[in-house]
């Protein structure tokens, strides 16, 4: 999509209230985006895929992880080759139902460095640049995809959480959801405040969206901090997806496990399990047409480090869940961990571009065409053959 289109749209939309502005183009209202649902989770901090889904069948694994994988014998087994970290055992029923899968040895195109911040931006921007340089639009791939999605509306996609989420940020209108409190201002006070904020180009839209949020959240419990407990977060996401939203995204941090990894990982996986189960429960039958895709900026070193943790690496892992998934399998080509198989003798060698997973999902679930996916949404991506993640 040409940049000038984005800019003109952005200019056009300034000042519109977010949900149902009559100023939106007719095509925006053309059709509902169907019943499929996609949840994109950004796992911040670089999740150690080798610890979450453990290649016990790889003969080199045990020596690389003498402490972290010491309990391998008792790990929940996914199959002959793979085992799950014990803290994620609560997901075993989901795996057995075929509603859980993993894509191992994946990475973004960003390979020239191991910076969290460049890596996360690259993951969310969807860039093809090896140095992590963003597309000129500096927006999120999921936002760009909305323009190519038949029937996408302003309320089709929602980011859940207090903070800005780059993956959904951009020229296409999206919803933003987080519990806030009601305003005690009089109508006149509201109007005056709206007027002074509407006059400032930087404040006009966020203020309007904040007002929208306040109006639509009556009776919701206000959290006492910037984040929601994970079960609650999962339920809220499901709630949004049971309304008009079909795409939801949120951030899930805390994966940077440089030391005493087991403690952190146990807590993180407990929370991940909670959020997935809460979404499954909240979505009810709609879970069957849902795909959850949790991706991280990069993986971690194949060897544990000197402080029973792992340092920044390259090849990582994505978590896939949902009734729409052809689950119960670990996707991708396993590069092996033996001598000569590691990248720079330290990292899991990536064998696939992690972007191909959301690309195939957007194509199958929302009719985004492959040409646009490989040029606009994920520049430079070669989608390759269908990894067959969906039923």
């Amino acid at each position: 999509m040409p940049n000038d289109l984005i800019l003109s749209r952005r200019a056009f939309l300034i000042g519109c209230s977010i949900a149902a502005s009559p100023l939106l183009t007719p095509v925006t209202f053309a059709a509902a985006p169907g019943e499929n649902r996609l949840v994109v989770i950004i796992l911040r901090g670089a999740m150690d895929g080798l610890d979450v889904v453990r290649p016990l069948g790889d003969p080199a694994y045990a020596a690389l992880r003498p402490t972290l994988a010491a309990d391998a014998a008792t790990n929940p087994r996914l199959n002959d080759f793979w085992a799950l970290h014990p803290a994620a055992a609560g997901l075993m029923p989901m795996w057995q139902a075929g509603h859980l899968g993993f894509a191992h040895a994946v990475a973004t195109p960003y390979r020239q460095g191991r910076s969290h911040f460049v890596g996360q931006d690259a993951l969310e921007n969807g860039t093809g640049g090896a140095d992590g340089t963003q597309t000129p639009s500096h927006d999120g791939w999921l936002n760009r995809a909305l323009f190519l999605m038949p029937g996408a509306r302003a309320d089709t996609a929602v980011s859940v959480g207090q903070q800005r989420l780059l993956v959904l940020d951009g020229a296409h209108e999206t919803d933003h959801w987080f519990p806030v409190s009601e305003s005690p201002l009089s109508d006149q006070g509201q109007n005056l405040l709206a007027a002074v904020n509407a006059a400032d180009p930087l404040f006009a839209q966020p203020f309007a969206e904040a007002q929208h949020l306040v109006r639509n959240l009556k009776g919701t419990q206000i959290p006492n901090g910037p984040n929601l407990p994970y079960r609650q977060l999962g339920s809220y996401v499901a709630e949004r997806l049971m309304g008009p939203s079909r795409i939801a995204s949120f951030s899930f941090g805390g994966w940077d496990t440089h030391r005493q990894q087991d403690r952190t990982m146990t807590e993180q996986l407990t929370n991940l399990t909670d959020v997935l189960l809460a979404m499954q429960e909240g979505l009810g039958r709609a879970w069957n047409s849902t795909l959850v895709l949790a991706m991280t900026e990069f993986g971690r070193t194949a060897r544990e480090n000197g402080t029973v943790g792992t340092d920044h690496g390259t090849g990582g892992m994505a978590v896939l869940a949902g009734g729409a998934l052809k689950g119960g399998q670990v996707f991708g080509k396993w590069p092996g961990l033996g001598d000569g198989n590691l990248l720079q003798d330290r990292d899991l060698m990536p064998t696939a571009d992690v972007r191909s997973y959301p690309a195939w999902a957007l194509r199958a679930m929302f009719g985004v065409d492959a040409g646009g996916l490989q040029s606009t949404v994920f520049p430079g991506l070669d989608m390759g053959s269908d990894p067959g993640i969906l039923l």
């Binding site: 006149q188 005056l192 002074v196 929208h212 941090g253 805390g254 440089h258 000197g306």
Partner: protein, 505 residues
């Protein structure tokens, strides 16, 4: 000391404080720079316990806990009996509850709670009872942390030398540590006071050294257990490196780019064995990687002096100068700062052996510094403090009708606006650009705060005069009209505080 002008207070301070006078006219660089050496009355009331006191309290706490554990024979149980159960500790890595350092996102619920305990001001005023012998040591440590946060909010709210506080906060965000991983809480304030504050008018190289050697930084970026694999301890126990601090020092604190993975790994070797505890800062030879390390083309040996030599060398690099210059220009002037300003700052920095005062002078002399077009959006801390100053408050007032228990709960409000005090979510600190503070929930929280403050205080003010005091000529006619047109005084004040103009600096 001569009073600052309005633009000096807004762009380089936290806005004007009720009850104080302003100098007429625009910005005068030397008047602002004089704040760096002026007597600071806020120090007497708001200073916090130094590092040695914190070490001592913690050592006492550990000893008390150990003795109690021995008596009961039930490890950990006693800690629960003496409330509160989880007092963060430092340099005792085995007790760290959570490793990282990289906590962006939705997982911070628990850690944020602590900063927002609703009755944290119970028993205030100030400097709660860190020295109250009737409390357990655990309680005293917790009180000390509450007092730290109170001073983070109250000191800039009352100070006459607000530029000093802005600089302390800017550099503490450039070289950031955070209590979000719940393990440096007892020492975070000391990082600001002992590593950053003494160096804001000194050399950046010295600030980098002080930061790198501060125990809180070493714990925060998981340096404390990094052991050279070929060191005595490394070989005996099969231990090894942890690259975290080495990487973030190069990426976040100094250069930003221009180094390789090899540089990071070699630097991690150079840092292995470094420690700063009750026995002082040093390198423990048994834990340090022996031999030469080639980092950014320079060869280093072992020990503290070699680490400091590396910091000096890195501080003097062009990449570091550019990164520091960009950070400062973006912090004070605009999210996209004028390139000529960045260039000028960088050149001044290198020409002056990383001295910061000349760099401030270059900044203050640039035309953008005195421009009355306010381009930056105040971070929640700056916004909350600006509000307190406008109303002549310090955050600890106990008679705020409409607030829970009549107390302001500024930390909780800041958290809702996106900035729980001392709990930056990522090792690169808080957002330095408007984007990070303008999500709908954060905006809603800003408006909420404005309304709550206005309702508690606004029946005593003349809103139109407040606009004039807060913004002078920088208030738009629309804002003046809106404030004057409100039904009640407090609503007029709410419109002012929740206006874009008041959120800018």
């Amino acid at each position: 000391m001569e009073a600052p002008s309005l633009i000096e207070e807004i762009r380089f301070g936290y806005g004007p404080r009720a009850g104080t006078s302003l100098s007429p006219g625009g910005l005068e660089p030397e008047r602002l720079l004089a704040q760096l050496t002026a007597p600071d009355d806020s120090a007497a009331v708001w200073s916090r316990p130094p590092l040695a006191v914190r070490f001592a309290l913690q050592e006492q706490y550990k000893a008390e806990k150990m003795a109690a554990d021995l008596l009961t024979g039930k490890q950990g149980k006693t800690a629960k009996a003496v409330k509160p159960p989880k007092v963060p500790e430092i340099a005792t890595s085995a007790e760290m509850t959570k490793t990282p350092q990289m906590n962006a996102g939705a997982d911070m619920a628990k850690t944020a709670e602590m900063a927002m305990t609703p009755d944290m001001h119970k028993g205030s005023p100030l400097m709660p009872r860190a020295d109250d012998p009737s409390l357990t040591l655990g309680q005293r440590l917790k009180q000390m942390q509450f007092g730290d946060v109170e001073s983070y909010i109250g000191r800039p709210a009352v100070t006459a030398v607000a530029f000093v506080e802005r600089l302390v906060n800017m550099w503490s965000n450039r070289i950031s540590i955070s209590n979000a991983s719940n393990n440096v809480g007892n020492f975070l304030q000391s990082f600001r006071d002992d590593a950053i504050r003494p160096n804001i008018a000194g050399r950046y190289a010295d600030m980098l050294k002080a930061a790198l050697w501060h125990p809180a930084m070493q714990v925060y970026l998981t340096q404390t257990d990094s052991i050279g694999p070929d060191s005595v301890v490394g070989k005996a126990k099969g231990k090894g490196l942890n690259e975290n601090l080495a990487r973030e020092f190069l990426e976040l604190h100094s250069m930003g780019h221009g180094y390789t993975q090899t540089d990071v790994t070699e630097f991690a070797k150079l840092l292995s064995g470094m420690i700063n505890d009750t026995n002082g800062a040093r390198v423990v030879p048994r834990r340090a990687e022996p031999g030469k390390k080639k980092i950014l083309g320079v060869t280093y040996g072992e020990g503290m002096n070699e680490i400091n030599r590396l910091v000096e060398n890195v501080a003097h690099r062009q990449e570091t100068a550019d990164a520091v210059a960009f950070f400062m220009a973006r912090h004070f002037i605009a999210d996209v700062p004028p390139p000529d300003l960045v260039q000028a700052l960088s050149a001044t920095y290198l020409k002056n052996d990383t001295e910061l005062v000349p760099v401030y002078r270059t900044l203050l002399q640039h035309p953008s510094a005195s421009d009355t077009n306010l381009q930056k959006v105040r971070a929640p801390h700056e916004y909350a403090v600006a509000t307190l100053r406008l109303m002549g408050l310090n955050g600890l007032e106990q008679n705020m009708t409409g607030f829970p228990k009549d107390s302001l709960h500024v930390p909780a409000a800041m958290a809702r606006m996106g900035q729980p005090p001392y709990r930056a979510l990522r090792p690169d600190g808080w957002p330095e650009v408007a984007d990070g503070w303008m999500t709908p929930p954060m905006m809603a929280a800003r408006v909420d705060w404005a309304i709550d403050i206005a309702r508690a205080t606004g029946d005593r003010v003349e809103p139109a005069a407040m606009v004039d005091f807060a913004l002078g000529d920088m208030a738009t006619p629309l804002l003046q009209h809106a404030v004057a047109g409100a039904e009640q005084r407090w609503e007029g004040l709410a419109v002012l505080i929740a206006s874009p103009e008041f959120s800018r600096r």
